[in-house]
């Protein structure tokens, strides 16, 4: 066991730090998401020019070929430097790796490079109003007409849809096949008449997510990924893809949030109470545990080629810890932290989504019970 960085890892970290010290996205433009997205897009162009877009992509596809640990280091340093995630994060972490696994050489040639530069933004068309945790219950239809597929249905929780060129779309191509068998994974052009994007307002007030209404949208046959009827397997690649990079980014952000809370609470002289000290000690412990468990997970992945039990628990740990932290912030700072427009108020509300998005806590517990502990399928 050695919890220090190896010389190669240190050199990588120093290189990332050095580049970030000289390159910054600059201050986030105020206002809504519409101002923020171009800012993150320009930031990604800068990352790409510096060779930092797609750090974990193999070099033959234009990436840096970083190890899982280096990828984690990159995302930690990005957060530490206070820089934003690249705009095309879904393309970089989900679409790209899925196309690398399942795509034909022609598809890889066509789609991968523009992901790296953010020239083409990607969104995800998976969940539907009646197909959330039970994704295989999806009903969006794909009907073959000549050498095209005609898509009709509805998707929900599609972030960045309004900025996206392409969509990872799951649709039912064979309604007579069994639930998981009749699904096809399409690469759908968002810029067509049959695609209507409607913003979806969250409890935080803004609309980062969207609904997609698909009515006669068309996808050429060459945009089927992984073969007709094979969509569920391809989707599993997307869903299970190594998102450790993002996890490391989130943890560092949580540590920064805690530090920011300490400063705010100190200014208001709220740190003298032992009961408060207990709760802060608890949070410190949980945030540290999350970091340690995520790092343990990297070792499992590097040694065994697959994730160990750690991956089942880290998302659960992250969401509950962030909810605890944001609640404590309100407790320490009082009603001013609930004022409209207050940053802590936003974090409190946004945190409610953490235990739902990317796999609900209930589903993740069932996955841990079934796949890690080997318990019988849940009822």
């Amino acid at each position: 066991m050695d919890l220090t960085l190896s010389p190669t890892e240190k050199a990588f970290r120093d290189e990332v730090r050095g580049w970030l010290a000289d390159n910054s996205a600059g201050p986030e433009p105020g206002g809504d998401d519409d101002a923020s997205f171009p800012w993150r897009r320009q930031w990604q162009e800068r990352l790409a020019a510096g060779g930092w877009s797609g750090v974990n992509w193999p070099s033959e596809h234009g990436g840096r070929g970083a190890t899982v640990t280096e990828s984690a280091i990159f995302f930690e340093e990005l957060a530490r430097a206070g820089e934003p995630l690249p705009a095309n994060v879904l393309g970089l972490l989900l679409a790209g790796p899925t196309i690398m696994t399942w795509g034909t050489p022609a598809q890889q040639q066509r789609y991968l490079a523009p992901i790296l530069t953010a020239a083409e933004i990607w969104c995800q068309g998976f969940s539907e109003p009646d197909a959330g945790s039970d994704l295989a219950a999806l009903k969006t239809r794909a009907v073959k007409e000549g050498d095209e597929w005609v898509i009709s249905g509805q998707k929900v929780w599609t972030s960045a849809a309004q900025h996206s060129k392409w969509c990872m779309l799951l649709a039912r191509s064979d309604p007579d096949a069994r639930k998981h068998q009749g699904i096809t994974y399409f690469l759908m052009d968002m810029e067509q008449d049959g695609v209507e994007i409607v913003p979806l307002r969250q409890i935080t007030g803004e609309a980062h997510f969207n609904e997609l209404f698909l009515d006669g949208a068309r996808v050429p046959d060459e945009n089927v990924l992984g073969g007709s009827g094979n969509g569920w397997k391809v989707a599993m690649t997307t869903l299970m893809n190594e998102r450790s990079g993002l996890a490391f980014f989130h943890q560092v952000r949580m540590r920064q949030l805690l530090e920011s809370l300490l400063e705010a609470a100190s200014e208001r002289e709220r740190l003298g109470d032992p009961a408060v000290a207990q709760r802060l000690g608890e949070l410190d412990a949980r945030i540290e545990l999350l970091r340690l468990t995520a790092y343990r997970g990297l070792t499992s992945l590097e040694r065994n080629g697959q994730p160990g039990p750690e991956s089942a628990v880290t998302k659960l740990m992250w969401s509950s810890t962030n909810q605890m932290l944001t609640q404590l912030a309100v407790d320490l700072l009082g009603p001013e932290a609930l004022a409209a427009g207050n940053g802590w108020a936003y974090e409190l509300l946004r945190a409610r989504g953490n235990s739902i998005e990317g796999g609900t806590t209930e589903i993740l517990k069932s996955i841990a019970a079934e796949r890690v502990l080997g318990l019988p399928r849940a009822r």
């Binding site: 207990q278 410190d284 540290e288 009822r379």
Partner: protein
């Protein structure tokens, strides 16, 4: 960066697991608890394998390994609730090794490393320490009071049994004959952090065993025509036990590594391990009783031994609250005053 056990460490853990599975099943644990005495042959076997001296310097007859190796042994012994003075002797030897004079170390460490003598570690206030595991049979008792340590032999102590709800281990109330004992010249603090890590490792083993027993039970037990593990409430509870146990594992292995290799992080890591492992062990063993339903509440079903050891271990650590205050005091200067 490599957060896994080395091949040698895994081998030590595997050997311990296999030995203890055979020599410390619940039948043997129950027998030892009811008899009120350990099986001396088990300690002899542990000593022959070098466990007593795992972290004692080679020049004193030990194996010269570190806290990570000691932790995996203690973890397996905890999982098996093995009746032996292993944890107590390792902890006391660590304090002696860190804070004792050369003469004190030379006088005692070789005998402790061979298993010929055993030791106990206690925390005293005004010359009284309770509960002290294994003090009744110890050849050497190390007591810490106000941050300073001292050595005592049996003649210098009044040792009375302290019966607890955990009969799988012998605890004692120890009081010092006034004016006796030999102070250790050095600072015991680093080794006390190490002792906390070992206790956390034992609690990790207890949690792991409780989870394993629970998983086996809920796969077998059928109600409403299906295994009860298929009910979400049951499966989810097991998932929560997994989260708690894996959290304790991360913290404990990190703290063991820091105790060996990173003095700057040692105190914080030990506090993290102590807080996490205490809470995890109590929650996981309580959840294990619950998951076993009615039989979980019986003496015969053996789940209770783990719950009781978890309670005593957490109490010996002084309660997780104390460690959270330590962590808080390291977070911000204003919190140091509150902690």
């Amino acid at each position: 960066m490599n957060f896994g056990l080395s091949d040698e460490q895994q081998e030590i853990k595997r050997t311990a697991h296999d030995l203890l599975e055979q020599r410390s099943g619940f039948g043997q644990v129950r027998a030892a608890a009811e008899r009120g005495a350990y099986d001396p042959a088990l300690w002899r076997e542990m000593s022959e394998l070098g466990w007593a001296g795992i972290a004692v310097e080679e020049r004193f007859g030990g194996l010269g390994l570190g806290y990570v190796e000691a932790a995996v042994l203690v973890e397996e012994a905890g999982a098996a609730l093995a009746g032996s003075p292993l944890l107590a002797t390792l902890s006391a030897a660590a304090v002696l090794g860190a804070a004792g004079s050369e003469e004190q170390r030379a006088a005692w460490l070789p005998r402790l490393a061979s298993g010929e003598a055993t030791a106990a570690l206690g925390f005293a206030a005004e010359g009284v320490a309770v509960p002290v595991p294994e003090a009744h049979e110890a050849d050497l008792v190390v007591l810490v009071e106000d941050g300073r340590a001292a050595l005592f032999v049996p003649a210098e102590l009044i040792v009375a049994p302290f019966e607890t709800i955990d009969p799988t281990r012998r605890y004692a109330r120890v009081s010092v004959v006034p004016g006796s004992g030999e102070p250790l010249p050095g600072d015991p603090a680093p080794a006390l952090d190490g002792a906390a890590v070992l206790l956390a490792a034992e609690l990790l083993g207890v949690s792991d065993r409780a989870l394993a027993m629970t998983v086996d039970y809920v796969k077998e037990r059928r109600q409403f025509e299906i295994p009860i593990g298929a009910f979400q409430a049951v499966g989810h509870r097991c998932a929560e036990m997994l989260v708690a146990t894996e959290g304790a594992r991360s913290a404990t292995y990190f703290a063991g590594w820091a105790a060996d290799a990173d003095p700057q992080q040692r105190a914080r890591a030990a506090a993290l391990a102590a807080a996490t492992a205490s809470d995890a062990a109590r929650e996981v063993t309580a959840a294990a009783i619950q998951a076993h339903g009615g039989i979980g509440f019986t003496w015969e079903a053996d789940v209770h031994w783990l719950y009781k050891r978890a309670q005593l271990g957490a109490a010996l650590l002084g309660g997780s609250g104390r460690y959270r205050l330590t962590l808080a005091s390291l977070l911000h200067p204003d919190l140091a005053a509150a902690a």
